[in-house]
């Protein structure tokens, strides 16, 4: 039986990026995916610098550089990845939010991230679909978007050492061995868990909770939107730990369709669309883009983000279980931060220099290290 250097559980963006990085470093990698479809398939694929705390900023900034470096290759080799450097507009609806926009600008510019404030007039000229009366926006030009399922597939198919992918449901990790639900086993030098909300199936000690989100996509229309449009209130929204909330988030797809989000609901694994939450989300979106009311939605769906108590992912060695590494809990930023996650994991597993400080993402903040 072939053994692998690393067995990765989960072929979502995080698993795919980690497999890609490890394979590029010469590792023989096997990826196991149960084909359940996770956050990578459901989400928006918005590549966005998030600056709520330094660790999040470091991870997303490093990742965006990598996405930008990959962009020309993706365009040439896999046009279905639809990478688009559209930028984000963080929209301010009142003076308080405009102040928040100014603080955000200061923080981003301090880290060398290009961004500029737009006045109400400039905002209206750039994005005429937005309702009159908004106060302005912060434009982050380096943000972009990608069609995540195809980008993950591209990463898995384009490594220096071929990556083996098997459609298998992993059921248990026992040291270096992964047991699958069809009774078979796979052996590796190490195991990397990148299974999103399913991580707690293997490691119940990890404090990962599902955060359900709703999405809708419209039909094509003639009105143009140039940037991903997000309300500044999104940030307060994203870090709430209880309750159900919605925030305005609109992504213009290359086809001219608009992808709409977002909502957050805790501790439900019910995949069915909740009409009441969807309605709230859409009403919020209509408040920002009144012409939305007349557009047709052609599909609605839900997804589950894997959320940790402090909003940061868990990246690195498992403190208690030998040969097990973790890359989970990325919540709504998994697609964005997959590249830097992958480099952190590769450096940790291969003993090379970490690209950024790995301490904020360490699993030891949740799980006690075994006594030596």
């Amino acid at each position: 039986m072939a053994t692998y250097d690393v067995i990765v559980i989960g072929a979502g963006m995080v698993g795919a990026a980690c497999a890609h990085a490890l394979a590029n470093a010469g590792q023989r990698v096997l990826v196991l995916d149960a084909r359940l479809g996770g956050a990578t398939n459901a989400g928006m694929g918005h590549l966005v610098v998030m600056d709520d705390n330094p660790a999040e900023l470091a991870l997303s900034q490093a990742s965006l550089s990598q996405w930008q470096a990959w962009a020309p290759r993706m365009a040439a080799e896999a046009p279905g990845t639809a990478f688009n450097a559209c930028g984000t507009l963080w929209v301010a609806q009142d003076a308080e939010e405009m102040q928040e926009a100014e603080h955000k600008r200061a923080r981003l510019q301090a880290h060398g991230i290009a961004c500029e404030l737009l006045s109400a007039r400039e905002l209206a000229a750039l994005e005429p679909v937005l309702r009159p009366g908004l106060h302005g926006a912060l434009r982050v030009g380096g943000d972009s978007m990608v069609y995540a399922p195809n980008a993950a597939e591209w990463l898995l198919g384009r490594a220096a050492t071929p990556i083996q992918v098997e459609a298998l449901h992993a059921s248990r990790i026992e040291g270096r061995r992964v047991h699958c639900s069809d009774g078979s086993v796979r052996d590796g030098g190490a195991v990397l868990l990148a299974a999103g909300i399913h991580a707690t199936q293997f490691c119940p000690e990890l404090p990962i909770r599902p955060k359900k989100g709703h999405l809708a996509i419209t039909d094509r229309g003639s009105a143009t939107v140039r940037h991903q449009l997000v309300e500044l209130g999104y940030v307060k929204n994203a870090h709430q730990t209880e309750g159900t909330s919605v925030a305005f988030n609109l992504q213009p797809r290359p086809t001219g369709q608009w992808l709409l989000g977002s909502s957050r609901q805790f501790d439900t694994l019910e995949p069915a669309v909740d009409n009441a939450v969807l309605a709230r989300m859409l009403r919020r979106a209509i408040e920002y883009v009144p012409s939305l009311a007349e557009r047709n939605a052609i599909r609605t769906w839900t997804g589950f983000r894997a959320a940790t108590p402090d909003g940061l992912p868990i990246i690195g060695r498992h403190p208690e279980r030998e040969h097990l590494w973790l890359a989970v809990g990325h919540e709504g930023l998994g697609v964005t931060t997959a590249p830097a996650t992958a480099r952190l994991i590769a450096s940790s597993m291969l003993g090379t220099a970490a690209p950024i400080d790995p301490a904020p993402y360490a699993a030891t903040r949740f799980v006690q290290e075994c006594a030596a």
Partner: protein
């Protein structure tokens, strides 16, 4: 934003074709408040489609007059089910989000009868996206709704009884039907004609449907033209024939419209229709189904099934039972029909070229799909089935071409105005939304 008030009825019937009309009339005597919903501008479904220049059969006119006489029956034409709504009461069979040209709302119903009919099986061939290519039943429907085809040269192709019916409609509308290219063999056609004789009500139709341009063992190869149809290439036995024409009407039989039933949890039975028992009950309590959505069976069977469902939904089991004998007769006719136009999947799978679009909504080509492993895999990576028709056209085609089992949508049955969905949440008296 103004909110529209959800509405309630005792019996909600989806589809105002023969099955839906028969169901409403059967249940009318019970006094139940009945609403019949149909997305076409007038009742009648496909076979009794109304339009300028259509002479409705007497039976169709009788049904429409009878419906109008009942004050407890409301017909909502131009109204479509767009999705599943929030339930108001656990005793309800369903709550559905409806939408018409001006508004959307949630309709609650104690009982539901699905009479959603069937759609035509449309399969890809090179050039099938050219303006001028339609289904065979599709051309018939368009002509009934006023499409002018006078003096246009038309080739009808595909397989099934719909071809000759479409050719007949087109001829009566003044078109020149050059050819009816039926994929089945002469033997199959002759056997079908022989079967028709067993049903006197159908037999008189048989000679009127025959067409001098009818050719068996013939199928379409390609639609030619740059911006619209100019000609068609046909395979006839071992030879290839090219005919200049303005329209190609090509269909391969019927597919039951089961998406709404499946979304509601109903199980499929034989012939890909919704499974029903002798009283037309589906596998979900309170939900019945009748007509072509239970499997292809013809309009006479649809009328009987509809009446059974209407009586059963109204709690009139004796009246429902009394119709079992005519039902058995028309079930036998349906069985006979099924045997004579089997799909030749191998030949059909060879029609599209790698660059032929299979998903017309998202322009996904056959070559891109052949590389994928399943319907879900294809949807995710090529966006096939993610467009406005929600996989109804390409999903049925993918089943024939690749053997995939397409799955219907889970929430939206049809594109819906965002305003409708924004309104379709439950009605809280005070919204406890943390204002962020």
């Amino acid at each position: 934003m103004t909110r529209t008030t959800p509405t309630r009825c005792d019996l909600l019937i989806i589809g105002a074709g023969p099955a839906g009309m028969a169901a409403a009339l059967a249940a009318a005597g019970s006094g139940m408040r009945i609403a019949v919903v149909d997305d076409n501008p007038a009742p009648g479904g496909q076979i009794w489609r109304d339009g300028p220049g259509v002479q409705l059969p007497p039976l169709a006119r009788q049904h429409r007059r009878a419906l109008a006489r009942h004050t407890n029956i409301e017909i909502l034409c131009g109204t479509r089910v767009v999705g599943l709504g929030e339930r108001a009461s656990t005793g309800d069979a369903a709550s559905l989000i409806l939408e018409n040209a001006t508004r959307g709302w949630t309709q609650h119903a104690s009982r539901l009868i699905l009479c959603t009919g069937a759609r035509e099986l449309l399969l890809p061939f090179p050039g099938w996206t050219l303006p001028g290519v339609t289904g065979a039943g599709g051309l018939q429907a368009l002509i009934k709704a006023g499409l002018n085809v006078r003096d246009q040269r038309i080739v009808v192709a595909g397989t099934g009884p719909l071809l000759l019916a479409a050719a007949s409609t087109a001829r009566k509308a003044g078109a020149q039907v050059l050819r009816v290219a039926e994929m089945a063999s002469w033997g199959a056609l002759a056997a079908f004609a022989a079967q028709l004789v067993r049903w006197p009500a159908k037999a008189w139709q048989a000679p009127t449907l025959l067409h001098p341009g009818l050719r068996a063992n013939a199928h379409v190869l390609e639609a030619l033209g740059s911006t619209q149809v100019k000609a068609v290439r046909l395979q006839r036995g071992n030879t290839v024939e090219q005919l200049a024409c303005e329209r190609i009407a090509c269909g391969f039989g019927l597919v039951p419209n089961t998406h709404l039933g499946q979304m509601l949890g109903c199980i499929l039975g034989e012939r890909s229709g919704l499974q029903v028992d002798a009283l037309m009950q589906t596998t979900v309590p309170g939900i019945y189904a009748a007509g072509e959505c239970t499997g292809f069976g013809g309009s006479e069977r649809a009328l009987v099934q509809g009446a059974i469902a209407g009586h059963a939904a109204a709690g009139e089991s004796a009246a429902a039972q009394a119709l079992q004998h005519p039902l058995a007769r028309w079930n036998a006719f349906a069985d006979a029909l099924h045997r004579h136009f089997p799909l030749r999947a191998e030949a059909l799978a060879a029609l599209p070229r790698p660059d032929t679009f299979v998903c017309r909504c998202e322009d996904v080509a056959h070559g891109a799909l052949q590389a994928r492993s399943s319907w879900i895999d294809a949807k995710l990576h090529t966006r096939c089935g993610m467009g406005a028709c929600q996989g109804r056209i390409c999903g049925a085609a993918a089943q024939v071409l690749y053997g995939w089992a397409p799955q219907p949508a889970r929430h939206l049955l049809s594109p819906a105005r965002i305003a409708t969905l924004a309104d379709a949440g439950s009605e809280p008296t005070h919204e406890s939304v943390p204002r962020i």
